[in-house]
C-alpha cells in the first residue's frame, strides 16, 4: 500500500489528492477499530482492478474531450461472453478470456468508428452502446448469473509468494504504462492537443479521427479486461455486473483532476480517485453508515473534490 501511495505521490500533479486520501484513511482508522485490518485491506484491493481498468480508459477518452458511458455495460457483456465461452462452449479459460477482451475491443471500436468517422457525439453513441451491451449481456446469459468455476477465481486471488492478485498487479502495471504514454510520448501529447483545441491540432497536421477511434477502442478493450476480472472476482458471470460503473469511473477521473472539457487529465490522479472511492465505500460501511447515507456522502465528496480542484487551478494560474 505504501508503495502505491509513494508512486501516487511522485506522479500526482501535486499532493492534494494524496493528502485527501491519507486523511480519509486516518479518519476511518480512528473511527473504526477494524479499518486497519487484513480483511478490510483485501476487500478494498479486490474491488480495485475492475474500476481501475475502466477509469484508465475513461480518463483517456475524457482527455480528448469525449466520454464513454458504455463501459459498465460493456464490462457486463464481456463477463457474460467469458462465462458462456467457458461454460456452455467448453473453451479453455485463456480462449474464453481472449474472447471477452475481443468483445470489449469490438464494442469500443464501434463506438470509436461512429464518433470519429461519422462525427456523432460520443455522449449519444456510447449511451446507445450502454443499452445495447446490457441487452446483449442478458441475452448471452439468459438473464441468469452463470457459475464459471474456481479456475477463473485464481486471477483474483493473491499469488503465492507475492501476496497480491494477478488482477491487481495488472491494474497497477496498466496505470504506470498509461501514465507514461500520456505524459512522456508523442501519442500522449497529441491526445492532449486534440482535447485542448481540435482545430489547432488539425492545423498542425494532426488528424484527430484515428486518435478518437483509438481511445474509445482502448476504453472498450479495458472494459473487456475489467469484465474478465469481475468474473474472476465473483467466480461467475453476472449480467448485472457493472451497472452504474461508468459514473464511478467518471467520478474517479474527475476527483483525480481530469477535466470534462478535455485537454487535462492524469492517469495517476485518476487512480488516486479510484482509491478514494474504494476507501470511502468501505470506510463508511465499517463505521456503520447506511447504504442511502453512503450514497449521499459519496456524491457530496465528488462535488467537493471538483470544487476544490477548480479553486486550486484558478489559484495556480493567478499566482
Amino acid at each position: 500500500m505504501t508503495k502505491i501511495l509513494q508512486s501516487v505521490g511522485r506522479h500526482a500533479e501535486n499532493n492534494f489528492i494524496l493528502a485527501s486520501l491519507i486523511l480519509l484513511i486516518l479518519f476511518f482508522g480512528l473511527l473504526s477499530d477494524n479499518f486497519f485490518s487484513v480483511i478490510t485491506l483485501t476487500t478494498i484491493l479486490n474491488q480495485l482492478p475492475a474500476l481501475t481498468f475502466v477509469t484508465v480508459g475513461m480518463t483517456l477518452v475524457l482527455i480528448v474531450a469525449g466520454i464513454d458511458l458504455s463501459v459498465g455495460s460493456v464490462m457486463g457483456f464481456c463477463a457474460a461472453v467469458v462465462g458462456v465461452a467457458a461454460v456452455a462452449w467448453g473453451l479453455p479459460l485463456w480462449a474464453a478470456c481472449l474472447l471477452g477482451l475481443g468483445t470489449g475491443l469490438i464494442c469500443g471500436m464501434l463506438n470509436g468508428l461512429l464518433v470519429a468517422y461519422f462525427a456523432l457525439p460520443s455522449f449519444i453513441v456510447t449511451l446507445g452502446m450502454l443499452e445495447m451491451a446490457r441487452g446483449l449481456a442478458y441475452l448471452t446469459t439468459g438473464s441468469q448469473t452463470m457459475y464459471i468455476g474456481s479456475k477463473i477465481q485464481s486471477l483474483a486471488l493473491p499469488l503465492p509468494g507475492i501476496g497480491v492478485s494477478a488482477a491487481l498487479i495488472s491494474a497497477i502495471v496498466l496505470v504506470i504504462a498509461a501514465q507514461f504514454v500520456l505524459t512522456r510520448t508523442v501519442l500522449g501529447r497529441y491526445l492532449v492537443a486534440i482535447g485542448t483545441n481540435e482545430q489547432a491540432a488539425r492545423m498542425s497536421g494532426i488528424d484527430p479521427r484515428p486518435y478518437r477511434l483509438m481511445v474509445l477502442a482502448v476504453s472498450g478493450a479495458l472494459a473487456g479486461i475489467a469484465g474478465i476480472f469481475n468474473a474472476a472476482y465473483l467466480g461467475s458471470a453476472d449480467p448485472n455486473a457493472g451497472i452504474g460503473l461508468e459514473l464511478s469511473a467518471i467520478a474517479a477521473a474527475v476527483i483525480g483532476g481530469t477535466s470534462l472539457m478535455g485537454g487535462r487529465g492524469s492517469i495517476i490522479g485518476a487512480f488516486a480517485g479510484v482509491l478514494i472511492i474504494a476507501v470511502l465505500q468501505n470506510g463508511l460501511a465499517q463505521i456503520g453508515v447506511s447504504e442511502p447515507t453512503k450514497r449521499i456522502i459519496t456524491g457530496a465528496v465528488i462535488i467537493i473534490a471538483v470544487l476544490i480542484d477548480r479553486w486550486r487551478v484558478k489559484h495556480a494560474s493567478a499566482s
Partner: protein
C-alpha cells in the same frame, strides 16, 4: 454642424491596442445615401459597431437629429431608430425566417406568439427584398448564403429607422439581386431614411450613393460627392500613396528550385482554377480584400480542404508528391499558420513548451519516449532566438501577450524545420516591434532557402517583406507583381479589379496569364 444633419459625428476616437479611429468627422443629411470605403482594417467596421452600440467610443461626439447619441448597447441603437445589416450574417439558424425578422418585437397574442401576424409581416418584407419563393415559416438554415444576406437586409428594414447601416450588403448577391437591393435603398432614401453604405464594389458605391467618404488608417481622408469622384480617385485616397515607399529588406533571391506547384486548383470556396508555383528562398505575398479567398487558398495548399479539381504537388529534391491532407503536408515539410491564432493555433491552457512542441520534430514515432531534457533545451533556444517574453517554459500560453503567442506558433514550425511556411496574417494584432522582429525572422528564413507564402490585408507589409506579390480578387488570382512593379495603388486596384470588372468602362487591371503566377 448644420442643423439639418441627420447624423453628425465629430472628432470620434476609438483605440484597441492601437488607435483605430482618429478624429473622424462625418455628416449625413436626412435622406442621404453616404458610402464609406477603405482598405481592410481602415476602421469601417469599428465605426459601424460604435453606431450600432456594440462598441463604446473613446472620445468625440455623435448627434442624431441634433441630440446627443451615446448608446450603451445595441438596444439603445434600436430605440434611437438605427438599423444595421451587419457584414457577418447574424440570423439564428434554427429559428424561422419570420422569427428572425421580428426577433426584437415578436407580435404576441396573450402569452403566445401570434404566428399569423408574424408570418403576415414577414411575407411582405421577404417579397419586398426579392426572396420570392421563401416560406417565412421555414428555418433560416435552409436558406442559401445569398438569401440569408437578403434576410439580413429584410431584418434591417423591418423597423422604421432614421439611419440604416448596410455593411457589404451585396457581397454574396448576384447582379440582379444587388440591383434590386439598390432600388430599395433608393426608395428608402427618397422616403427620408439616411443610409450608410459600405462596400468594396466601388462602381456600386458611385452609382448608389450621393456622397462617399474614404477612411484610411482610422482617419477620414476624403468626403466628396459621387458626381465628382472616379474609381481611381477613391483608390488613390484609400492607399494614400501614389508610389510605394517601402523600406527595402531585399537581398538576392537564392537558387530558384520549385518546391510547391499548384495546378488548376479548385475547391468549394475557390471556384476558379488557380495555378501558382513557389520556389525555394523566396517570400511571396498574397494580397486581396476580405472575402477575396486568401485564407481559402492557403488552406487548400495545406490540404485542409478537399480539392474539387487540380492538384498541389510538393517537390522535394526532385521527388514529387501530391499534397492530399494536412498530416501529409506537415510530414513533407509544409507549415501553416491560421489567421486566428486563438482558435486555429494555440493550445490554450497548455504550457508554452507544449505549444511549441506540437506537432514536434520530424520523424518522431508515436510511442517514442520524449526526452524532456533535449526538449526543454530546444524550447529555451527558441524562446531566446525569437525573444519570446515569458516567465518560463511551463507558463500557460494564455498568459502571454498576443505577439508572444504568435512567436510561439512560429516557433512550433521552426522546431519542425519546415521548408515551406504558409502564413495567414502572420502579424495580425501584434505590436510594431514584434511585427518587425517577425519580418526579420522571415527574411532570415528566406536566406536559409526556406519558402514563405504569406497572406496579409496590409499591402504595405507585403511590399516591405515580399519578393513578389500575388493578388486575389473575388477568389480569382488576377495578377502577380514583381518588386520593381510595386505600387500600393496598383496592387489595391488589382484587388478591386474583379469587384469592378462588371462595369464596362473599367477594364480588368491584369488579364489572367495562361502560365502560373
Amino acid at each position: 454642424m448644420t442643423e439639418s444633419a441627420r447624423l453628425s459625428i465629430s472628432s470620434l476616437d476609438k483605440a484597441f491596442a492601437a488607435p483605430v479611429l482618429k478624429g473622424v468627422k462625418l455628416e449625413i443629411a436626412g435622406g442621404e445615401v453616404h458610402a464609406i470605403v477603405g482598405e481592410n482594417g481602415a476602421g469601417k467596421s469599428t465605426l459601424v459597431n460604435i453606431l450600432a452600440g456594440n462598441l463604446r467610443k473613446d472620445g468625440g461626439e455623435i448627434r442624431l437629429d441634433g441630440s446627443i447619441y451615446e448608446p450603451q448597447g445595441p438596444r439603445d441603437s434600436y430605440a434611437a431608430g438605427i438599423a444595421c445589416a451587419a457584414q457577418e450574417l447574424s440570423s439564428i439558424e434554427t429559428l424561422s425566417v419570420a422569427e428572425n425578422i421580428s426577433l426584437r418585437a415578436l407580435p404576441r397574442k396573450g402569452l403566445a406568439i401570434d404566428r399569423k401576424a408574424l408570418n403576415a409581416r414577414a411575407i411582405k418584407l421577404v417579397r419586398r427584398v426579392g426572396l420570392q419563393n421563401i416560406d417565412p415559416a421555414s428555418p433560416a438554415e435552409t436558406l442559401s448564403l445569398a438569401d440569408r444576406q437578403l434576410l439580413e437586409f429584410a431584418k434591417a428594414i423591418s423597423i422604421d429607422c432614421r439611419l440604416l447601416i448596410l455593411d457589404e450588403p451585396t457581397a454574396a448577391l448576384t447582379a440582379p439581386q444587388a440591383d434590386h437591393l439598390h432600388s430599395i435603398v433608393a426608395d428608402l432614401a427618397a422616403a427620408g431614411t439616411s443610409i450608410i453604405y459600405i462596400s468594396h464594389r466601388l462602381d456600386d458605391v458611385l452609382s448608389v450613393a450621393d456622397k462617399v467618404s474614404v477612411l484610411r488608417d482610422g482617419e477620414l481622408v476624403l468626403t466628396a460627392s459621387t458626381q465628382q469622384t472616379t474609381i481611381p480617385d477613391l483608390v488613390e485616397a484609400m492607399s494614400g500613396r501614389s508610389q510605394s515607399t517601402s523600406a527595402e529588406r531585399r537581398d538576392s533571391v537564392g537558387d530558384a528550385r520549385v518546391v510547391l506547384n499548384a495546378t488548376d486548383l479548385t475547391t468549394d470556396d475557390l471556384p476558379y482554377a488557380t495555378s501558382l508555383v513557389l520556389r525555394s528562398g523566396e517570400i511571396v505575398g498574397l494580397a486581396g480584400l476580405a472575402g477575396a479567398g486568401r485564407s481559402e487558398l492557403l488552406s487548400a495548399l495545406f490540404g485542409l480542404v478537399p480539392l474539387t479539381g487540380g492538384a498541389v504537388q510538393r517537390i522535394d529534391n526532385g521527388k514529387e508528391q501530391a499534397v492530399l491532407n494536412a498530416g501529409q503536408a506537415v510530414s513533407s515539410g509544409i507549415a501553416f499558420l491560421g489567421e486566428d491564432r486563438q482558435s486555429m493555433g494555440l493550445f490554450r491552457g497548455q504550457s508554452l513548451l507544449i505549444n511549441m512542441m506540437v506537432p514536434g520534430s520530424a520523424g518522431l514515432k508515436m510511442l517514442q519516449r520524449i526526452d524532456s531534457k533535449i526538449e526543454r533545451s530546444a524550447g529555451a533556444q527558441l524562446v531566446e532566438k525569437l525573444s519570446i517574453r515569458c516567465r518560463d517554459l511551463a507558463q500557460d500560453v494564455r498568459e502571454l501577450s498576443g505577439g508572444n503567442q504568435q512567436k510561439a506558433l512560429l516557433a512550433r514550425w521552426l522546431h519542425r524545420d519546415s521548408d515551406i511556411l504558409l502564413l495567414d496574417e502572420p502579424t495580425r494584432g501584434v505590436d510594431v516591434r514584434t511585427k518587425n522582429s517577425i519580418y526579420d525572422l522571415l527574411v532570415s528564413l528566406r536566406q536559409k532557402g526556406k519558402t514563405i507564402f504569406m497572406a496579409s490585408s496590409e499591402i504595405e507589409e507585403l511590399t516591405t517583406v515580399c519578393d513578389r506579390i500575388l493578388v486575389l480578387s473575388d477568389r480569382k488570382l488576377v495578377r502577380s507583381f514583381e518588386r520593381s512593379e510595386y505600387s500600393e495603388q496598383a496592387i489595391l486596384a488589382a484587388a478591386f479589379s474583379e469587384f469592378t470588372a462588371s462595369v464596362a468602362r473599367h477594364s480588368p487591371t491584369g488579364s489572367r496569364d495562361a502560365s502560373p503566377l
